[in-house]
């Protein structure tokens, strides 16, 4: 499987324990910075309804959907209970020279 590293933003553009939306090539992603200063990426839309997760709240390693409070662990993509039951897809992330990149397969 070939991966394609895409630059998202400057590392400082995402606050600690926060998330931004990243659109690329007709797809939408959510890119996170955890409280311990690591970066993660998942699909941008909640698996329950088509809602942008980047409008939601990051708490520790959880992203909560802004619409119906569906929760996912953004590090693993795991759905954490009703109303969401389908996991989020995650993507590799790297930080190089102060920029965040995600690998879109």
């Amino acid at each position: 499987m070939s991966s394609n590293w895409v630059e998202v933003c400057a590392a400082d553009d995402i606050d600690e324990e926060d998330v931004i939306r990243f659109d690329h090539d007709g797809r939408t992603f959510a890119v996170y910075r955890s409280p311990d200063d690591e970066y993660f990426a998942t699909d941008g839309l909640c698996t329950h309804e088509h809602i942008h997760l980047a409008d939601g709240l990051v708490m520790d390693d959880i992203i909560e959907c802004p619409k119906h409070n569906g929760r996912f662990n953004y590090k693993t993509g795991q759905a954490k209970g009703a109303p969401v039951c389908v996991n989020l897809r995650t993507y590799p992330v790297k930080v190089e020279a102060g920029s965040v990149f995600i690998a879109i397969s």
């Binding site: 942008h52 939601g56 802004p66 619409k67 119906h68 409070n69 009703a82 109303p83």
Partner: protein, 408 residues
């Protein structure tokens, strides 16, 4: 505890059933619903779901009930609870025994006094079947009169406009959304509807509602009125307490439960729209909430307590509504507020924070496009739950992050 029976297969009942299995309950679970469908999501019925119609948006597919070993009986109303035999009697004559029982019977729409109920041209909206019938009657140029300026009426007005119908919305009180929504926000909603061509008529008294083969009419006390192809009545809901009452269970504006959702019978719990419960966060005030998230939260809590967890209600009331591109979210109960602080966000979105006499945050109401207010309302909800007294200056300044207040 061999068998748990849940009466009412809506959001709350379904959530409770799955939550029992998630919490490793090993006994039998029977979920009984009067409607012919598997449990489905009701919020879409007045929103996009009305426009989309068939089939309803199921909470879970049949395979998930099978995997979770939940027996779902659909299309069978429960006729009675026999507390002595510890059984529910179904309309088809069957009796189902329970170790413990959860009543998640929901609510039904309040009928307009004197108006014919659900005639072809006068309808109410609660079920998928109601939504289908309303959907079929709406088309470009059709005249829809909605009676009631609450969430259901306003959401239906927005959806009907999308479908091209002409819409008049009638509210007896001086403004729309007078129950639980601040005037500043209700004004934004009303103005948005007017921009879309909805005629909003407030403060009128309805003298009569009539319908025949040719059309329907609403007549006001001042002699004027409106003609319609369809009238939808959305003037609130009544909790379904009949089964509980007949069984001698205490009812008080809903099936009365304690903080742990237990009714006056220790083996029978109630949750969701059908029950009234004390909210310790608001001085133990007894409330009944008709809200999707409450149905979920209480379904989950009831499941835990049916298994003996003995946990109190801890969640903050939370409501949302979608109309056009706007989303309105409210956390907490604003009555009793003495100070209101406004926080302006981007794109015209704003949040009102409601503080009591001691400076404690008791509610937050916000409106804006898309999910513009969602994150701050969620943080407000957490501040409310924590009983915090945030600095009003920080609340009003969009630059100051609410998350910092929570950590403080």
């Amino acid at each position: 505890m061999s068998h748990i029976v849940i009466v009412g297969a809506g959001e709350c009942g379904a959530r409770a059933a799955f939550a029992l299995r998630e919490k490793r309950f090993e006994g039998g679970i029977t979920l009984i619903g009067a409607e012919p469908h598997l449990p489905y999501e009701r919020p879409p019925l007045s929103k996009d779901g009305l426009a989309g119609a068939e089939p309803p948006k199921y909470i879970a597919g049949p395979e998930r009930y099978e995997e979770a070993r939940i027996t779902v009986l659909t299309g069978v109303p429960v006729e009675a609870i026999d507390r002595r035999q510890r059984a529910v009697r179904l309309a088809d004559g069957r009796a189902i025994h329970y170790g413990r029982l959860l009543l998640a019977t929901g609510a039904r729409p309040r009928a307009l006094p004197g108006a014919p109920e659900n005639s072809g041209r006068i309808r109410m909206l609660r079920t998928h079947a109601d939504a289908l019938a309303i959907r079929r009657a709406l088309a470009p140029g059709r005249k829809l009169v909605i009676i009631g300026g609450g969430f259901i009426g306003l959401e239906l007005a927005a959806t009907a406009r999308k479908l091209g119908a002409e819409v008049v919305l009638i509210e007896g009180l001086p403004r729309v959304l007078s129950r639980g929504v601040p005037e500043e926000i209700a004004d934004v909603v009303a103005e948005r509807h007017r921009q879309e061509g909805v005629e909003i008529v407030c403060g009128v008294r309805i003298a009569a509602v009539e319908a025949d083969d040719d059309g329907a009419r609403v007549l006001f006390a001042d002699g004027t009125g409106r003609l319609a192809d369809l009238i939808v009545v959305g003037i609130g809901a009544i909790p379904n307490t009949g089964l509980a009452e007949a069984a001698g269970i205490l009812v008080e504006n809903g099936i009365a439960v304690d903080e742990r959702l237990r009714t006056s019978d220790p083996d029978i719990y109630a949750a969701g729209d059908c029950c009234s419960f004390p909210l310790s966060l608001y001085q133990g005030r007894r409330v009944r909430l008709e809200a999707w998230r409450n149905a979920q939260d209480q379904g989950t809590l009831a499941a835990a307590n049916l298994m003996g967890a003995n946990e109190p209600v801890a969640s903050v009331p939370w409501f949302w509504s979608d109309q056009y591109e706007l989303t309105l979210q409210i956390a907490g109960l604003a009555d009793g507020a003495v100070t209101t602080v406004r926080r302006d966000l981007t794109d015209g979105a704003f949040i009102l924070f409601h503080l009591d006499g001691e400076g404690r945050l008791i509610a937050a109401s916000g409106i804006g496009p898309g999910n513009a207010v969602a994150r701050d309302i969620r943080l407000a909800e957490m501040l409310i739950a924590a009983g915090s007294r945030p600095d009003p200056a920080a609340l009003s300044s969009p630059e100051s992050k609410l998350k910092k207040l929570l950590a403080a």
